[in-house]
């Protein structure tokens, strides 16, 4: 909100205060002053008198003016404003005057004629153009003829003011009202608030009726005022509005805005004479299109709260008035409304109709001081008499005002116990006094009567905050909790997750972080762990491409590779651990590699990323996590798989469950994600893998007896998985084979078509004795028999 210091001074004396110091002081108690600016700018502006005004010889619109800027001092100014004339009192910017945004007045020549200043319009003083009238933008500002020559012009026209830009927290929305703000400032400065005096009039009996048919309107008050006249507001009122960021319109509208700025109570006015039946009914249930006072059509829904007049829409409560009942220049008799409406209902309506206004915020943020409603209406009536010539004031007609006195208790012990301080009872009492809280004090217990404008205070903790912020947080000491010991350890899953990250980083991969929200066109790509038809879809996404939660992290990593390719980063080896969502939350690890994994060109090392690189990363990870090879198997993906290259990809299975996948992405997917070259990926279900039971690490004695090695080359069908053959060898050796190292796989000349030769170095070792030749021979024979039986594999001749 924007708060005018000049206006604030009406409610609490701050004339002697330096603006910056004041801003700092109220920031420290919780009203954050985010910025500060002068209402109008210009440091050398004076009242001048145009003694003479003649047309510039070389121009059809410029005038050469002789302007008296202090008694006996006349300067020449060339002025282009259409409305300048001799005999006017005007605002003159003297040489050296800084009008902001780098615009500085200096002595110069305009088309050969000396010009030593500028005659200003209001717009040129830097006021928000949206708040100004057309004439203030079109021409120079003409002052009244009594304006004393030479005095400071801004001061004279009442625009010398400083505006505080305050970022109010939602709980202190009451400070949108100048009176509430004044209570805060008064507390800080230890001064008293000055509330405006409201003149009482003899009130006539009103024929207005009020019916509230909903709980969404706790209070509705209406006051009839007759005989008003519409004209321009006095300058002080216009200036007060300008300084508060509100455009002055005419005295009637300005009064309603002014009262809202002062009290925080939005005011609506109805033209009494446009009402056939003088009854206001507050209810919901309308469903119709309606033209409102801005002459635009809106759709009203049954849940909208309506002030109904003559069975129609008198006003959408707190949002905007109807067109049929609105006041205009010819209005003579006015019904002034001050009501309290349900914020949540109003917020929904205002949002839907795109009519969130400053006024509606007072309702939405529960900032109303309902108890003050009668005063508000009396204040309106008083101002209408003073500034709009109102002749007859009628009694306020309203629903019952049910305001219970709110008492909140807090003890000194509670305050100090929560803050960890030692504040004396007298100091607490002083703080409540400064805040104008009334209270009773018994021993160390304060029973505080909460002021009706402080809707935010409902419990002891709120009063503790009042004490803390006024006493000053800087005075709170720094300690560490004194309490029972607690253990600080990660859960196994958390520790494992971190371990996985570290392992992959050590293996040379970069961790990425990508968005959970993705596009429906990508959501089922590479999806392995979630059902295809389950989807977590946002109701109102920012765009289609971020409208569902991802089920696989691979698409995100492919997008990262694409991004990096576009930015000339060729080799990309990345991973990410993230949660994926359909109905279930599954933590997955995705790896994606593209280009070169490891290269030292001058040494001839060019390890391009291929299937076996990714497989190695996953295997290393499994080893590190002590998930033994025997617990999983690698099985080729379906031959018609459209995510993965069918010949170069496999599922990692544990029993029947797929817990991961390793492979090259399908060329169709490479095209879809606009990736050149081969990209290899892996994805693992960490929710399963990191929660597995694993064997504790136990030392096995180092073998005492020598090992022997035997090399064999087996010829077998090309499509037999080598790993299966190795398993058979190990099994048939009765576990004497402790290592089987494949050192060559060969197809081609000397080998039958459709066959391959696999050369294996076998290490045989018995932990209990030295192997004798007979045993070795016997074992080798058994191995060869088994592989022949199971795979039709023969020793290569």
């Amino acid at each position: 909100m924007e708060a005018s210091l000049k206006l604030l001074n009406e409610y609490v004396d701050i004339q002697d205060q330096d603006a910056a110091t004041l801003a700092d002081a109220i920031t420290r108690v919780g009203l954050e002053v985010e910025g500060m600016h002068d209402l109008a700018r210009g440091d050398k502006l004076v009242v001048g008198y145009v003694k003479e005004c003649i047309l510039h010889p070389d121009s059809d619109h410029l005038n050469i003016c002789q302007v008296e800027v202090e008694e006996g001092v006349i300067i020449q100014i060339v002025c282009g404003a259409p409305n300048v004339a001799a005999g006017q009192k005007v605002i003159v910017a003297l040489p050296g005057c800084n009008l902001g945004e780098g615009f500085k007045i200096k002595e110069s020549k305009v088309r050969g004629v000396e010009s030593n200043g500028m005659i200003c319009s209001i717009a040129e003083l830097g006021l928000d153009a949206r708040l100004l009238k057309e004439e203030d933008k079109a021409g120079i500002h003409v002052l009244d003829e009594n304006a004393p020559i030479g005095v400071e012009a801004l001061e004279y026209i009442g625009l010398k003011d400083t505006i505080l830009e305050i970022g109010l927290t939602p709980n202190r929305s009451d400070c949108m009202a100048m009176t509430s703000l004044a209570y805060e400032v008064a507390a800080v400065l230890n001064r008293k608030v000055k509330l405006p005096e409201i003149k009482k009039y003899d009130e006539l009996k009103s024929d207005i009726q009020v019916h509230v048919e909903t709980e969404l309107c706790p209070f509705f008050g209406a006051k009839l005022v007759k005989g008003v006249k519409t004209y321009e507001s006095p300058k002080w009122l216009q200036n007060a509005l300008l300084a508060s960021g509100v455009k002055p319109i005419n005295n009637i509208v300005d009064i309603s805005n002014y009262v809202m700025i002062e009290t925080g109570q939005p005011i609506h006015m109805y033209d009494y004479d446009k009402l056939k039946d003088k009854t206001f009914t507050i209810k919901t249930g309308f469903h119709q299109k309606e033209v409102l006072l801005d002459e635009k059509e809106y759709e009203i829904l049954p849940e909208d709260l309506i002030v109904s007049t003559d069975n129609g829409i008198g006003c959408i409560a707190g949002v905007m008035g109807g067109n049929d009942t609105k006041i205009d220049e010819n209005t003579v008799n006015i019904v002034v409304e001050a009501a309290t409406f349900d914020g949540a209902t109003l917020r929904a309506t205002a949002r839907r109709l795109n009519l969130l206004t400053d006024a509606s915020q007072h309702f939405i943020k529960s900032a109303l001081n309902t108890a003050n409603s009668f005063h508000v209406l009396d204040r309106c009536a008083d101002l209408l008499v003073q500034l709009a010539d109102a002749k007859e004031i009628y009694e306020t007609v309203s629903t019952e005002l049910n305001i219970e006195e709110k008492v909140v208790s807090v003890t000194q012990e509670k305050i100090n116990g929560l803050l960890g301080m030692n504040i004396a009872v007298e100091d607490i009492a002083d703080i409540f006094d400064r805040l104008s809280f009334t209270y009773t004090l018994t021993d160390t217990t304060f029973n505080v009567v909460v002021p009706t404008y402080r809707n935010d205070i409902t419990m002891a903790a709120d009063l503790v905050e009042e004490v803390a912020r006024m006493y000053g947080y800087d005075n709170i000491p720094s300690t560490l909790p004194y309490m029972e010991m607690t253990k600080g350890i990660l859960t196994p899953k958390q520790a494992n997750e971190r371990f996985v990250r570290d392992v992959l980083v050590d293996l040379g991969l970069h961790e990425t972080l990508t968005y959970t929200l993705t596009s429906p066109t990508l959501v089922n790509d590479f999806n392995l762990f979630h059902p295809m038809d389950e989807e977590v879809k946002l109701m109102s996404p920012l765009g289609e491409e971020r409208s569902v939660t991802r089920k696989s992290v691979i698409p995100s990593l492919l997008q990262v590779i694409n991004y990096n390719q576009a930015h000339a980063n060729k080799d990309v080896c990345i991973f990410e651990i993230s949660n994926t969502y359909a109905k279930d939350e599954i933590t997955t690890l995705a790896i994606a590699c593209h280009g070169t994994y490891h290269s030292v060109p001058w040494l001839g090392i060019h390890q391009k990323v291929d299937f076996y690189v990714i497989k190695g990363l996953v295997e290393t990870l499994f080893k590190k996590l002590c998930i033994e090879e025997s617990r999983y198997s690698l099985v080729k993906v379906e031959s018609d798989n459209k995510d993965f290259h069918p010949g170069r990809s496999g599922y990692i299975k544990m029993g029947k469950d797929i817990v991961g996948v390793i492979g090259q992405i399908h060329p169709l997917k490479a095209k879809k994600y606009d990736l050149k070259g081969e990209t290899y990926v892996a994805e693992l279900n960490l929710s399963v893998l990191l929660n597995m039971r694993t064997k504790a690490l136990k030392f096995a004695p180092i073998p005492q007896y020598p090992a022997v090695t035997r090399d064999i080359a087996l010829v077998m069908d090309k499509d037999i998985p080598t790993h299966d053959v190795i398993s058979t060898i190990q099994k048939s050796s009765k576990r004497l084979v402790t290592q089987a190292l494949i050192f060559d796989v060969y197809e081609g000349e000397h080998i039958e078509a459709g066959k391959k030769s696999v050369a294996i170095a076998l290490t045989l070792q018995d932990a209990t004795k030295t192997l004798d030749d007979a045993t070795i021979q016997e074992t080798m024979t058994r191995i060869l028999e088994s592989v022949e039986k199971e795979y039709n594999a023969h020793l290569r001749s």
Binding site: M421, Y473, L517
Partner: protein, 344 residues
Amino acid sequence: MDELLKIKDEALSQIEEVSTLKELNDLRVFYLGKKGLMQAAMKSMKDMSKDERASFGQVSNKVKQEITQSIEEKKEALEEAEMNAQLLEEDIDITLPSNALPLGSLHPLSVVKNDLEELFLGMGYQVAEGPEVESDHFNFELMNLPQGHPARDMQDTFYIDEKTLMRTHTSPVQAHTLLAAKGKGPIKVICPGKTYRRDDDDATHSHQFMQCEGLVVDKNVTMADLKGTLEVFAKKMFGEKRKIRLRPSYFPFTEPSVEVDISCHNCEGKGCPMCKHTGWIEILGAGMVNPRVLEMCGFDSTVYQGFAFGIGLERVAMLKYGIDNIREFYNDDLRFLNQFTRKG
């Protein structure tokens, strides 16, 4: 006798001359071998008298010894020279590039998360987690943000249906933790994780971001404890000289609530663009747990009290590493990631 001495002189001078091990061996055979000069010279002994023989024998032994020793010495010298030559041959350019394995990196937000976890684990905190697809009940209601609460405006939300949403903060993990504890303290947790808000992405906004919630609940936990704890945090993350400052603020789930500033680590509080010339940087929000939150989550607020804080991990990383655009974290440009291969 003279002959022996002549042989010795000749041998020693020849040994001196040789430059290869083979030549040296040839000399050894020539002088000391079975058919060598020394052996031949010995043959003349049989014609000598006993005395002569004795003295001849003595001299010849001495000569043999001297020649042998000289050969040994020469052999060592030649072997060393040969090795030195070999070493010279094996010389390489040690400035050529190494065969270092590729260097990976943790994402900077993981680094910050780890740092925070380590700090708080050390102080006896547990790390708690909660779902990112969260219920309105946990995200808002239990955090004292009932339907229509004005502060819901501050947290524009991605709703999935009327009751489900992408969590807008890590605060709902507070509720999960409190409810799991069934009304019994002490509780000491931090909850790092992803959060989502309906913001358009730009240099300072991201629809997805990371927070770390902290929650301590016990019988005598105070605001002073909050201040002390956050001071430890500030010093660990931004250096020992950091101070913190609390300013009153508002969060529905804490009362009193504060914004926490740290003294600027960039200019040591003198004023710079990073701290907008104030010497202070806004870093997180915190406060004493609102009694309503405690009650709703099954804790007796007349017995228990506590503090909570919420740290934006991006904010910490941006300040710590001088990153000025939040999008960097999610673009995953390798030229960005590569800068985090070193320790922080």
